[in-house]
Each structure stands twice: as structure tokens, then as C-alpha cells.
Amino acid sequence: MAALFALLPLGYLAVRALERGPGFAWDVVAEERTLALLGRSLGLTVVVVAACLVLGVSLAWLTARTALPGARVWSILATLPLAVPSYVAAFAWLSAEPDLAGFAGAALALTLVSFPYVHLPVAAVLRGIDPAQEEAARSLGHGPLRTFAKVTLPQLRPAAAGGALLVALYVLSDFGAVSLMRYDTFTRAIHTSYRASFDRTPAAALSVVLVVMTIALVAAEARTRGRAGHARTGTGTARPAVPAALGRWRPLAVLWCGAVTAVAVAFPLGTLGYWLAVGSSATWDLGGLTETAWVTFGIAAAGAGLTTVLALPVGVIATRHRGRGTRLLEQAAYAGHALPGITVALALVFFAVRYAYPLYQQLPLLVGAYAVLFLPVAVAATRAAVLQAPPVLEDVARSLGRRPWQVLREITVPLAAPGVAAGAALTFVVCMKELPATLLLRPTGMDTLATRLWTETGAGSFAAAAPYAAALILLAAVPSYLLGRHRT
């Protein structure tokens, strides 16, 4: 049921795009403008992915495998950009230098918020590689550089490719940064086309192209993955690797980490602080801010609630019963992850206008869109949580005289609850930051922190936008902080 719910929009989008005949849809797609859009989207994706690979891999190696001073602090700082929505980064750069608008600005903002997607998995693999493998290579006569190239790098490839895929999906589906930077990609073109005309078929057709692109990307990555088995052979705990000495490169390495952290973390926060200070005299509308914060809190909570409820059965079934059917179920839920927010929103708009008009531009539809978009996040959390309660514990409880429903109450739920709650908190944060679907589906006159920030920045009133950005980061920080505490 939940999986079907996640796939529904996709199918409907295709139906809607072909409504005026395949010929019409093809005309839209084959237009010169569409080809240009394709080039711009792909160009931006390639540049951002390449930049993220350079930033992510270099920082991962420096923090995980070298004697870099303060390596732990740098590695934590390098994950912080994940908490900055792309449109906040775009706001920061635009407000400092309006001339950045365009390709350069979009690439800059997107790279600086998404390189942790590469950094995190690569650093994890680097920490996990058994140093004995590298020592074996050295003892067989390979120098340090050849050892890195022949032993270490091949093992990094799956992690780096996975990270690059996430970055690519992020860029393709990003709406906030490209629209603020006024750089036309598919997402921005879809939004403009939807807003500009009553005929919504072009928007649907463009959406289908975008969806096909993302699916092709995911499929290509899945093909390259999982052929070579990596990880350690043998059991036991690996020794931690001896950090490589940096020698005379040390100051340069520190400078590099410092520069990346400065532009990715310190700069957005600093700019925000500056505009808060500048604007405090004139444009603070405390009442409006509080109300918007409350509205955001409310719908994000509703979105997180619905998503978690839908994710529970999928997660439980996927964990307990492995098989072809369940894998399919899981993949269906994940399909939503690759779908850009704007296409899901568009599909729901079409659906509501046609079949459920009373729902059009009403809250339930928005909350439903959140559920479709973020179901994978919640399913992943549920799976991890259910794994906390292995079946053997339930067997033991049965043998000690408990009935099945008592086992559920006393063993399974208490063990899984913290993980499920963590998943709900995570979903809450992503719902709160969501921009494109919210823009399309919100009831008229309603604003969330994200939409308000987007509107004000788009109009160039940076001082007015700053308080919303600050409130958004603060609200998002609370669950993130709780999540961090839960993990440790």
C-alpha cells in the first residue's frame, strides 16, 4: 500500500504528459529550448559532482589517514554543510555578491552544500580499510603512491561513486539554489512553465524527462556497483592505521581544510549574522516570523507523522521477510527518493485538480507530498530500528511464557522505538526544509519559513529574508542535536 502510494505520482505524471497525444508531448520535449535545458542541467551536474569529488575525497583522506592537526574537529566541521539548505547557501552568496547569479553561483552554492555526501562515505571506508592490506602491498615492493593507487583507491570507488550519485541527484532535483541564482535548469523551467500558463502539459512533459534522467542515473550507478566484493577478508578487529606524516605539506593541508570550512560553514553563518544585525532596526516582523515558524512546525510534524506511519509496515516487512517480493517493495519506496520534489508536487497537483478538487491547494495534499518524498528516509530508519530487536529475542520471550502481543509490547516496541523516533525527527527536519513541493502545493496565503525565505531573497530583500533563514536553522538544529545525542 505504502509503496503503491509512492509510485502513484510517477505513473500519473506520464499519463498527464501524454494526455494531448504523444505527438504534442514529443514536440515539447524536442524543442530546442529543452535541449538547451538538458545541456545546462547536465553541465551543472558534471561540474558540481567533479568539484564535490575533489573536495570530499581530499578532505576525507586528510582527516582520516594523515597526522593533520585537529583532524577530528575538521571532520566534524566538514559534515556541517549538510544542515544548510541549498537556498540558504544561495541566499548567503547572492546577498554578498549579486553578480554571482548564474552558472558560477549555482555551482558554487550546490558544491558547498553537497560535498559531505562524498566526504562521509569515503572517510568511513578509509577508516575501515585494514591497514594490513596496504602493508602487504608495501612489503611486495610497491611504493606509497602505487599502493594508494592500486590498493586504496579501488576500494574507495564504490563509496565515492555512491556519494557522487547522491550529489548528482541533489543537483538535478535542486530547485532553491538554481531558482535564486536565476540559472535555468529543468526544475526551474518546470516551475516557470507551470506558473506561466494554463496549459500544464509542457510542465508535465519536462517533468517526465527529468524523471527519466534521474532513473537512468540510478540504474547506471547500480550497474557499476556490487561486482567487486570489497571490505575485509577474515575476522577480528582491524588495527587503526598509522596516520601518514604530512611533513612540509602540513601548513598547506591545514590551509586547505580551513578554506573549505570557511566558505562552506563560516561564510553562510557570517552573512546571516550580518544581515540580522543590519536588518534588526527596520524589517523585523516578529509576529509574522513566529506565526510562520508555527505553521512550518505544524505541517512538518504532520508530514513526519504520516511518513513514519506509512514507513513502519514497509520497514518491518522488509527486515523480517527477505525475498524477491519484499525487495521490490523496498525499491518501490526508494524510487521516490530519486524523484525531484517538483515533479512529485506537479503530479499531485494534476491528480487533485482532476480527481479530488476539494484537496487542491489544501494541507492534506502537501502533507501527502512530504510522505511520498521522504518515505525512503523513514523506511531506512525503521529498518535499522527493527534490526535492533532480532527475532531470537522474541523467541526467548515466547519460551519464557509471553504471548505474541505481549512480546510485541515488552520486547519489540521498546527496542525499536528509539530508532523509529530518530527516523521521525530526521523526517521532520527534511520536511521543514522542503521548498519546491511546498511552493506548488501550499494553500494560498500560507507561508513556511522556506517559502518566505525564497520569496524575500528572490525580491532582493536580504535583510528581510535573514530572520527566516535563522529560524529555519534553529528549528532544524534541535532535532539534529537530539539525533546526535541518541546515536552516542
Partner: protein, 347 residues
Amino acid sequence: MNELHVDGLTKSYGSEEPVLRGLELTVPPGALAAVLGPSGCGKTTFLRIVAGFLHADAGTVRLGDRILGGPGVHLPPERRRIGIVPQEGALFPHLSVARNVAFGLTGVERTERRRRTEEMLDLVGLAGYGDRMPHELSGGQQQRIALARALAPRPQLVLLDEPFNALDSALRAGVRSDVRAALRATGATAVLVTHDQQEALSTADLVAVVRDGRVAQCDTPQDLYRRPANPWIADFVGDAVLLPGTVDGDGTALTALGPVPLATPPNGLRAGTVVLRPEQLRLIDAGSEGVVRGTVTDVCYYGHDAMVTVAVEGHDTPVGIRVAGPLPVCRGDEAGVRVVGEAGLHP
């Protein structure tokens, strides 16, 4: 009484080959029986059927005078009064040690519950550990708490599923003897499932060797080791020397190691496989009169004894000889071999 009686147990998963094919086993009250078999022999399936987590396709499980499972009967696990000790303990991670042990004590008055919990902790040698959480215990301690948890509600039968597997070998012997002592003290009937023949021989009163879903032999450890029912069991339980032999008139078998007296009359067999244990072979001086000679191909030294492998003329696989005390030979030496005691003969 708490006698476990399993009769004609059959089970297959889907359309695959049956895992159990008419397994029979009787464990007398208060005994500790080991179900021993290689992986995939069906021993875990057997355990899960007895515990009530799986339905058998056919056969009955009886405990004392209660039928637990059989045609038209399936008592749910919570009503069987069978305690289980899973691999790696599987303590409830969210409950303290004391609450883990008390988990099965439902419908018991609170003071009695506390008394029984402390009694059990005392029994497994972990008195005073009640307030700890499972992750604060070592592997061996977790395993003992798992046993205390299983024993607390006074089950009629305790099932132990390879409980010492996860422990390192230094710890294993200690935990094993503690577990046996605790089981003895409570008088519970117990079944230990394992693939480790040493563990089965040293822990259990009775060992049932399972092969291909059936009990191939069920005996006391000594009888099993000294009189294995066939060469496969001999080789699986302990080290064995298997030699082809032909029967001579007066109850001896002629082999590559010379004439060997048979423990039982050959019952009409003219030839077969002669089964000896490595400790029944002795190394003697190669120069002696009429001795069987061979070349030492390998020496494994264990401290308390050593295994010397000798290639003998007339037999294509080298034979193992267990030597206690100082080693008289090294690799490449000529050596003489002599057989002590009686052998078994199998078709």
C-alpha cells in the same frame, strides 16, 4: 517426570529435500543430552520444533506425560515450559540483568520473584550483578545470565543452542563446567545442540549423533567414542584410523598394520573397514623383529601429547599416532608401528 521423548520427527522446507527424516530421541529425566552433527544436519530445526517455533510435518514431541506437538496438537512456545539458551545469550538489551532473569517469573509474588532472581544469579556465580546492563557483561557472563534466565521459571526442559560458540577457547571450558553444574543443581532435563564433538563428549551424559535428519547413534560419550556404529561416526567423533581388513579365522583382522584383535565377533563378515583410535597405535624401534615399518611424514606437537603421522607400506593414506610424553622421532625418520587393544570392524 521430565522425560523428553521425540518420535518420528519429519520436516521439510518447501519443496526441498527434507531436513528431518524420522528423528527419534529419548532423554531420561535430569540428563543432559547433546545433539551433535555437522552443519546442515537438521539439529537447529529439531531444536526449534521442540521449542515450538516450528511445526513438524509429522511426528510427536512428548515431555513427561504432556504431548507438546503431534498430529492435531501444537502447544504454543509460551505454554511448553521449555527454557532456551540461544547462541550468544540474546539477553534483552533494554532490561537490567535482574529484570532479564525475572522476565519469565510472571504471576509470582514480588518478594518471591526477588528471592528466586537472587537464587539464580547465585547459582551461576554472578550474585550482585543484578543492577548491571547486559552490555556491561563479558561474553561468558552474558551466557551464564542467559542460563539463569532460562532456569528461573523452573522449566521442565532446557534447550541450549550452541551456547559456547561465541566464547573464546580459554573461557569456554570454565563456562561449560559452570553451566553443567548449574543444570545438575536444578535437576532439569537439558538438550545441548552443537557441532563441536569435543564439547559434546565432555559436557553431556548422552550424545546423539545426527546425520541427514536422523539419529545415527545415541550413546554415552564413552560408548560412542569406543564403539562407534560406523566408520563415518568414528571419524566425526574424535580422530580415527580407518584401515581395510580381511577377517582371519580366530576373530582377528589382517590389516596393513598387521593382525588386529576384534572387539566383537565378525558375525559372518569376511572383510570390511577396521576402526582404530590414534592412541591405540604405538611407535616402536624400526629395527625390531617382524615389525610394521613406515616413514614419519608429519609431527604436530600439542604439549600434553603429539600427533605423529606415519606413511605405512601397503596403505595409501598415512595413519595418525597419538604419542604422550617426549617425542622419540622427527619428520623423515623410519619408525615401527604396533597396535594395542581391540578394534571394531564395519562393512
